[in-house]
């Protein structure tokens, strides 16, 4: 039932999106920006290490009729997104499994987000928490994968934690070029994105999911991360990417020690706060909430609950027996 409902939701949202499509997608468009030009050298150096062949990005959605409009020079050309070998870490990505409690839990989280989208327009969601080690990256990655389960649901996952980026470990891919490079103007948007190449033995389910997932790694922000997070280029990134994706999930650094996430949150439609059960103190949660009071906090995700509700048990799923 929930899946049928989600499909309906999805169709509905797509129709809305198409109505709100701010700009037409222009394929076969090269990126020529000043910022990019300065960063070409380093980018190319880094590119040299990537030996993957770029595959044409197949659009699954019907292209709308293209009216003659002004072309943004920085517009994203999705066909230029490089495809790289990923090695998904299943232990960290339980939402990839065929079934299980985690799959159901993320599915219900996804349903809630769909419901929220029905109330207000919602595309870019930042995931953050008060303190480190509360499961932001885990939640954001699995949420992105869960959202990508839908056919023709394009998801962009951004590792916004430029100081301790970890998402590439989840996906088993390179960590740069990444967001820091783009914000610093060292790389174009298409260069910092990456997609998974299908590999041998990948289950059909996983393949279908990874097909819909595009990832921007953390990149080497280093000490400049705080300055970079305040850069207006992040907003531009969201603006540019938005037409091509249904969901943009941004992982970020914790809000209390550093202010990066607060800066990034301004560009996002909504913020998901992560609390780790039994570890996150409520004053921390309250302070994180007050730090982000300028943004739209969607709600909390309670992570690492010892006895999570068995949402899938109704359907006869048994968590213990796959």
């Amino acid at each position: 039932m929930s899946r049928i409902y989600e499909a309906l939701q999805k169709a509905e949202s797509e129709r809305k999106l198409e109505r709100r499509e701010p700009e037409p997608r222009t394929p076969e468009q090269s990126v020529h920006s000043a910022i990019y030009a300065t960063a070409v050298a380093t980018a190319e150096e880094e590119q040299s290490s990537f030996t993957s062949a770029v595959e044409p990005y197949v659009e699954t959605r019907p292209s709308p009729v293209q009216p003659p409009v002004r072309v943004d020079p920085n517009a994203l050309d999705v066909s230029k997104i490089p495809v790289r070998p990923w090695a998904l870490s299943l232990e960290r990505l339980p939402s990839l499994l065929e079934r299980g409690p985690a799959v159901e839990q993320f599915r219900s989280l996804r349903s809630r987000i769909f419901e929220l989208r029905d109330i207000t327009p919602l595309k870019s969601i930042m995931v953050t928490s008060g303190l480190p080690q509360e499961g932001k990256s885990f939640i954001s990655t699995n949420l992105a994968l869960s959202l990508a389960r839908h056919k023709s649901s394009k998801v962009l996952l951004i590792d916004g934690d430029m100081r301790r980026y970890t998402l590439h470990q989840f996906l088993g891919c390179e960590s740069h070029p990444g967001l820091a490079d783009y914000l610093a103007g060292k790389a174009s948007l298409a260069e910092v994105m990456q997609r998974s190449e299908p590999f041998e033995g990948m289950t059909s389910g996983t393949a279908a999911i990874t097909q819909n997932l595009t990832f921007i790694a953390g990149g080497n922000g280093g000490d400049k991360a705080a300055d970079l997070s305040g850069s207006p280029r992040f907003e531009e990134l969201i603006r540019l990417a938005a037409p091509h994706f249904d969901w943009i999930i941004v992982d970020s650094s914790p809000v209390l020690p550093v202010s990066d996430a607060v800066n990034l949150a301004r560009a996002c439609d909504g913020v998901l706060l992560v609390a780790r059960s039994g570890q996150t103190k409520f004053p921390v949660a309250q302070r994180a909430q007050s730090e982000l009071k300028a943004s739209n906090i969607l709600g909390f995700v309670l992570n690492a609950v010892q006895e999570a509700p068995q949402v899938g048990s109704y359907y006869g799923y048994d968590a213990a027996k796959p």
């Binding site: 290490s49 990537f50 030996t51 993957s52 070998p85 990923w86 090695a87 998904l88 870490s89 299943l90 232990e91 960290r92 339980p94 499994l97 409690p101 985690a102 839990q105 993320f106 219900s108 989280l109 809630r112 929220l116 499961g135 885990f138 939640i139 470990q169 088993g172 190449e197 590999f199 041998e200 033995g201 990948m202 289950t203 996983t206 998901l272 609390a275 059960s277 039994g278 570890q279 996150t280 103190k281 409520f282 004053p283 949660a285 309250q286 909430q289 906090i297 969607l298 709600g299 909390f300 995700v301 309670l302 992570n303 690492a304 609950v305 010892q306 006895e307 999570a308 509700p309 796959p322």
Partner: protein
């Protein structure tokens, strides 16, 4: 979260589920500690004996008990006596109680007193007001001493009760005896008074009135009879005298031819006068009979006056030699008559005197009666008192005898003092239970403290309570970060086609 927000039952259950071991460990350890403590604490043994109070064997209706004080009262006074220093000190010295060396005798006595317990049995079956018996218990540091001292105290009680009762009964008897002696003296005094009174007022006493009255009537009749006899005798005498004078006249006529004897004329006159008085009483003076009688009287008087007064020889009974035999007889008769008359007169006087005495008695009897009554009342009171006392004394004597034969109410030892097998303190089970309770309490306290200090959010309710934000998702513990071996094998088994960790499955680039 305890103390930071209102918790539901569910919350408490999850707290218990999470921290049960904190509850369990002290709850297991403390009973063991408590049990171990029982071996370290000095044991206290309680020996107990049951003394039953037996009713007297002879029914109360036959012999009334002398000692009627309520048993509980007697027990209390007995207890005070027994727990007195003079009684306890020998026991303490004999059994060397509480001889820790530091304690003074007073403190030891106090301790001993504290360790003696006397508790009455409350029973519904026995008398409603009393108690059929009582327990005596003694607490000591070793079983044997407890038993011995308990027995000692019990025997003290029993003997005390016996002697007490016997003394009480004997005392009652003695007292009654002295009272009885007094009463007897009083009664004797009263009796003497009464006897004296009776002697004094003999015949005037109440109850003698009827006999007095009877005597009066008889005396009256006697008096009447005497008077009548006297009158008759006087008549006879006068007749005899007249006869005598007639005889003498005839004698003298035969010698001197004397006129007709005036005696007959006199008699005639007398008769006429009597007749006249009779007639005048009935008729008026004009009545012919009266007139005739009066005329006759006149004529007779004239005749007598005309007749020369014959010098009548004095009539005497003195015999004269000249007298004839008949005259002499007459004279003798006359003499006898005179004597008879004198006798009668004496009789009459005696009767009259007696009559006066009796009249006097009857008259004075009311005053006497009053005094007599008061005296008899006092006497009867004293008598009743004496009888009562006598009765009581007899009762008391019986009761004393009953006590002496030990047939009265007495203390019977039902259970001899037992040799306690287990110490009354410390009770192992109680200590273990107490330890368990303390352990539970401590566990709960620790849990409460930890929960108070633990401010981590754990569920949607916490998040809602502190941030008023909805919880969109609850993700179970997936062990991310530190992959667990078993989980890895599970995953491996589940999906052997997918690599684990961050190693690329296909290193396309090398």
């Amino acid at each position: 979260m305890l103390g930071h927000r209102a918790l539901t039952v569910q919350d408490y259950l999850t707290i218990l589920k999470r921290r049960w071991w904190i509850l369990a460990i002290p709850a297991i350890i403390f009973p063991i500690v408590g049990f171990a403590l029982t071996f370290l604490v000095q044991a206290q043994y309680i020996s107990q004996t049951l003394v039953l109070v037996e009713q007297q064997k002879v029914p109360e209706s036959y012999v009334k008990a002398v000692v009627t004080e309520d048993l509980s009262g007697r027990l209390a006074s007995m207890k005070e006596q027994i727990l007195s220093r003079s009684r306890l000190q020998p026991i303490i010295e004999r059994f060397n109680l509480f001889a820790n060396g530091k304690l003074s005798m007073d403190e030891r006595i106090d301790l001993t007193r504290k360790n003696i317990g006397i508790t009455p049995i409350q029973s519904e079956i026995a008398r409603t007001n009393g108690l059929p018996g009582f327990f005596i218990s003694f607490k000591a540091n070793d079983a044997r001493t407890a038993q011995l001292v308990c027995g000692e105290i019990q025997s003290l009680f029993v003997s005390e009760n016996l002697s007490d009762r016997a003394a009480s009964a004997a005392g009652t008897t003695e007292f009654l005896k002295s009272q009885l002696a007094d009463a007897k003296a009083k009664l004797d005094e009263q009796d003497a008074r009464l006897a004296k009174f009776q002697q004094t007022y003999m015949g005037k006493l109440p109850g003698a009135e009827t006999s007095n009255m009877n005597m009066l009537t008889t005396l009256n009749t006697q008096l009447d009879a005497a008077t009548q006899a006297l009158a008759r005798m006087e008549q006879d005498k006068s007749y005899t005298e007249s006869m005598l004078s007639l005889q003498q006249a005839q004698q003298s006529q035969s010698t001197e031819r004397g006129a007709p004897a005036p005696q007959t004329q006199l008699l005639e006159l007398q008769q006429l006068e009597a007749q006249e008085s009779e007639l005048t009483a009935r008729y008026t003076d004009d009545y012919p009979d009266v007139v005739t009688v009066r005329r006759k009287i006149k004529e007779l008087e004239q005749k007598m006056a005309q007749a020369p007064a014959a010098s009548a020889a004095p009539l005497s009974s003195a015999p004269k030699p000249t007298d004839s035999l008949s005259v002499q007889q007459m004279r003798a008769q006359l003499r006898a008559m005179e004597q008879g008359i004198a006798q009668k007169k004496r009789d009459q006087a005696a009767v009259q005197a007696e009559l006066r005495t009796y009249q006097d008695r009857v008259a004075s009897s009311p005053a006497v009666e009053e005094e007599y009554k008061s005296i008899t009342r006092d006497t009867s009171t004293a008598q009743a008192f004496y009888d009562d006392l006598l009765n009581k004394l007899n009762q008391s004597k019986m009761a004393t005898d009953l006590e002496r034969r030990q047939q009265g109410e007495q203390f019977r030892v039902m259970d001899e003092p037992n040799l306690p097998e287990e110490p009354a303190f410390p009770k192992r089970s109680v200590f273990a239970l107490g330890g368990f309770a303390v352990g539970l309490g401590l566990g709960l306290f620790i849990i409460a403290l930890l929960e108070y200090l633990d401010t981590a959010v754990r569920n949607e309710r916490d998040i809602w309570a502190f941030t008023k934000l909805p919880t969109l998702g609850v993700i179970g513990f997936a062990g991310e970060g530190e992959p667990v071996v078993t989980k890895r094998s599970l995953f491996g088994r589940r999906s052997p086609d997918v690599t684990s960790g961050s190693k690329p499955l296909m290193n396309a680039g090398g």
